[in-house]
């Protein structure tokens, strides 16, 4: 068992607070992804869990034991680094065995563990090579293998795929997910790529400037973002944001157009300044709508199976529309857009917090910004 819990964890470098009190509970066997823009503190948080970075405040507990003052090696964790950090002067075999030798594991046991890990990761052919003779994907496997042989309680991944090319990244994504199913260990994975987060995670923690914006299942984050930041960060292409003001049941946009919002979906009062959020899938060109949105098409991307229309509203806000299949729209055209208001989101313009009335049970617990 390996439950990890962070209790009001803080980190400051001098006067600068980079982690401003993080509370998280990660249960045994969960694949948890920390995602956020660069500089949000996600790698720092991971290094604090690993023990490579000291903790300025709060507690890190593994299975209920406070590990703040236990050195990195003794926390029973293993880490895969962004640059792989293989030992360049050692062969693959020595890279894998170095940690076990330090743990004073008997020789034959080391041999057994290494061979099992090598077989699982398909690097058994490369055992006598040096890291510089390996391709990026192979290095990645060795780096993962080095973590696997240690049989850690928790795996930590620090943007492990960012140095790989796009195709290999998709492959390795699948392999890490497979590894997680095979080993069943707790894994914590840091990335700035929300696609990686969505595809791999059991739970996602979205971080921004040292704080957790929302923590929950990928689809809950997608369907029910706690605030405008999470809404914009999760999902590709990005959610469209349109400024407006409430006028009874109508949302009056700044250019005078209005959109009718479903009754009872949002907690709003008359005259409130809000931001409307619509996923690119939930908006489509229509002809016959009472309350539509006028926009000019800037460009169209036809991918064959999917089409992306990039438009600008009369007010200058950019709007992305995703349509399945192919479309006969071209740049320069004027569109009247129909919004699927049942799937729309509304955020307070000041605080960015969602105004959705009924929130998913899981998402509710998340701290609001």
């Amino acid at each position: 068992m390996a439950n990890l819990s962070l209790k009001n964890v803080k980190k400051a470098f001098g006067n600068i607070e980079v982690i401003k009190g993080v509370d998280l509970d990660i249960e045994h066997g969960e694949f948890c992804v920390f995602v956020g823009p660069s500089g949000c503190g996600k790698s720092t948080l991971l290094r604090m869990i690993s023990g490579l970075e000291s903790i300025s405040g709060g507690d890190v507990e593994i299975d209920g034991d406070r590990v703040n003052d236990i050195p990195a090696a003794e926390r029973g964790l293993a880490m895969v680094f962004q640059s792989y950090a293989l030992y360049p002067h050692m062969s693959v075999r020595q890279n894998l065995s170095f940690g076990l030798e330090n743990l004073k594991t008997p020789k034959d046991e080391i041999e057994k563990k290494i061979n099992a890990a090598a077989k699982m990761l398909q690097i058994d052919e490369l055992m006598d090579r040096r890291p510089r003779d390996l391709s990026g994907g192979q290095r990645q496997r060795v780096a993962i293998g080095r973590a696997v042989v240690r049989e850690p309680r928790i795996f930590l991944f620090d943007e492990p795929l960012s140095n790989l090319d796009a195709e290999l990244r998709v492959d390795m994504r699948g392999e890490i997910a497979l590894l997680h199913r095979q080993l069943g260990n707790t894994m914590i994975y840091v990335t700035h790529d929300q696609v990686e987060a969505m595809t791999m995670a059991d739970k996602i923690a979205v971080l921004r400037s040292g704080e957790v914006e929302q923590f929950g299942k990928p689809l809950d984050l997608f369907n029910d973002p706690a605030n405008i930041f999470v809404a914009g960060f999760i999902g590709s292409p990005k959610m469209n944001f349109i400024q407006g003001e409430m006028q009874g049941e109508l949302l009056r946009l700044t250019n005078g157009e209005s959109i009718e919002l479903p009754k009872g979906r949002f907690n709003v009062s008359d005259g409130e300044k809000v931001t409307l959020g619509i996923r690119p899938n939930d908006i489509k060109p229509g002809d016959d709508v009472a309350h539509g949105l006028n926009a000019t098409v800037r460009s169209v991307e036809q991918l064959g199976g999917d089409s992306y229309i990039y438009a600008k509203s009369a007010n200058g806000e950019s709007i992305t529309i995703h349509r399945p299949g192919q479309v006969s729209i071209s740049a320069g055209e004027e569109l009247l857009l129909e919004v699927e208001v049942d799937k729309s989101h509304l955020f307070d313009r000041e605080t960015g917090v969602t105004l959705l009335r009924e929130r998913t049970a899981d998402a509710k617990g998340a701290p609001a910004a």
Binding site: A73, F81, L86, Y87, R146
Partner: protein, 350 residues
């Protein structure tokens, strides 16, 4: 082999020589002469006898008089060719020389002495190597003792220096601690202090520690050099911190990280420093001269110096010993020079 010849005879002009070709080859040949001339002259001279060394004008190759053994004479007699007079064109052996006349005998008539003027004869010589210069070193002087002293000082000092400097460099490059910048500034500052300035205080410290006139007195004071620390630190800065973090996650102690990760990864820089240290220590003269006073503690450099007396200098032995002193450093350099190139290349490379 063909490519080597092609490289060495490469020209810029095609078919005929461009003026830059003339210039380049002249410059290169001049350089070779300047660099190797003195060394070749030294080696050639080290095989000359004392008499030959005193000769004017000097000749490049060592010569010795041709001699012949004749009946009725105990010692081999030097051969001469007569240029003037009755015996002109004949080969004679000189029995002895008195002032400006020389008593010679014909080879066919070893008993009949003839007097001729020294001007009328020319010595007959052959190229001959005076290996005695070298054997004397072992017979008459304690060359092996000097050699051992020099070797011991060089090896011990180099090893101690590499260990001390690499530890300091590791700390200064990979650990964050208060005053790190200050320490580094001091180290770099020390680079600007000439050794002669600290000679007297260093001597006093060495004396107080009771290390005067011992080999350790030469070894210890130079154990940490700012140059070495700076060189290694700059190289170690290029080793990614993530590798150290990975080792820490692998439960390696800091000592093990130094020993198993940092040292092997800094090998090129350490090789460069090792070569430099060996050359510095082997060629060091001033400090050993100050510390060492008994002959049995002398290094080769000091022994060489002692050949140069106030009244007379034994040039033949001095030259032979100089050659032997040069050899080890030349060999070290020949075998390790490729590391200097790769070391410098990879320190700046990344």
């Amino acid at each position: 082999m063909a490519s080597v010849v092609k490289f060495l005879t490469g020209t810029r002009g095609k078919g005929r020589l461009h003026w830059t070709d003339w210039f380049t080859y002249a410059y290169l040949l001049g350089g070779i002469l300047l660099m190797f001339g003195p060394v070749l002259w030294l080696v050639a001279s080290s095989f000359k006898t004392d008499a030959e060394l005193d000769k004017f004008p000097p000749r490049f190759l060592p010569h010795a008089a041709l001699t012949v053994e004749l009946e009725g004479h105990d010692k081999p007699l030097p051969l001469f060719k007569v240029t003037k007079g009755d015996l002109a064109g004949e080969q004679v052996a000189q029995v002895r020389r008195i002032g400006l006349t020389s008593q010679v005998v014909r080879l066919s008539e070893p008993d009949k002495k003839i007097k001729i003027s020294v001007k009328d004869r020319e010595p007959m010589e052959k190229i001959s190597i005076a290996t005695k210069n070298y054997t004397d070193l072992f017979r008459k002087f304690d060359f092996l003792q000097f050699f051992w002293n020099s070797t011991f000082i060089t090896v011990a000092a180099t090893i101690i220096m590499l260990i001390v400097n690499s530890m300091a460099a590791f700390a200064l490059s990979k650990y964050q601690f208060k005053g790190r910048a200050t320490v580094m500034a001091i180290v770099i500052g020390v680079l600007m202090v000439p050794q002669t300035v600290v000679l007297v205080p260093l001597f006093i410290v060495t004396k107080e520690l009771g290390m005067l006139d011992t080999l350790w007195g030469v070894i210890i004071p130079g154990a940490a050099t700012p140059t070495g620390i700076f060189l290694l630190r700059q190289y170690m800065l290029t080793i990614p911190d993530e590798i150290l973090d990975a080792a820490r996650m692998d439960k390696a102690s800091e000592w093990k990280i130094y020993w198993r990760i940092i040292l092997p990864l800094s090998a090129p820089a350490i090789a460069v420093l090792a070569i430099l240290a060996i050359m510095w220590r082997w060629n060091d003269f001033l400090w050993p001269l100050i510390v060492l006073s008994r002959t049995e503690n002398f290094t080769l450099q000091l022994a060489l110096n002692s050949f140069q007396g106030e009244m007379a200098t034994q040039w033949s032995n001095l030259l032979a010993m100089t050659v032997l002193t040069l050899l080890p450093v030349a060999l070290v350099f020949a075998f390790l020079q490729k590391y200097i190139a790769t070391g410098i290349a990879s320190t700046g490379g990344k």
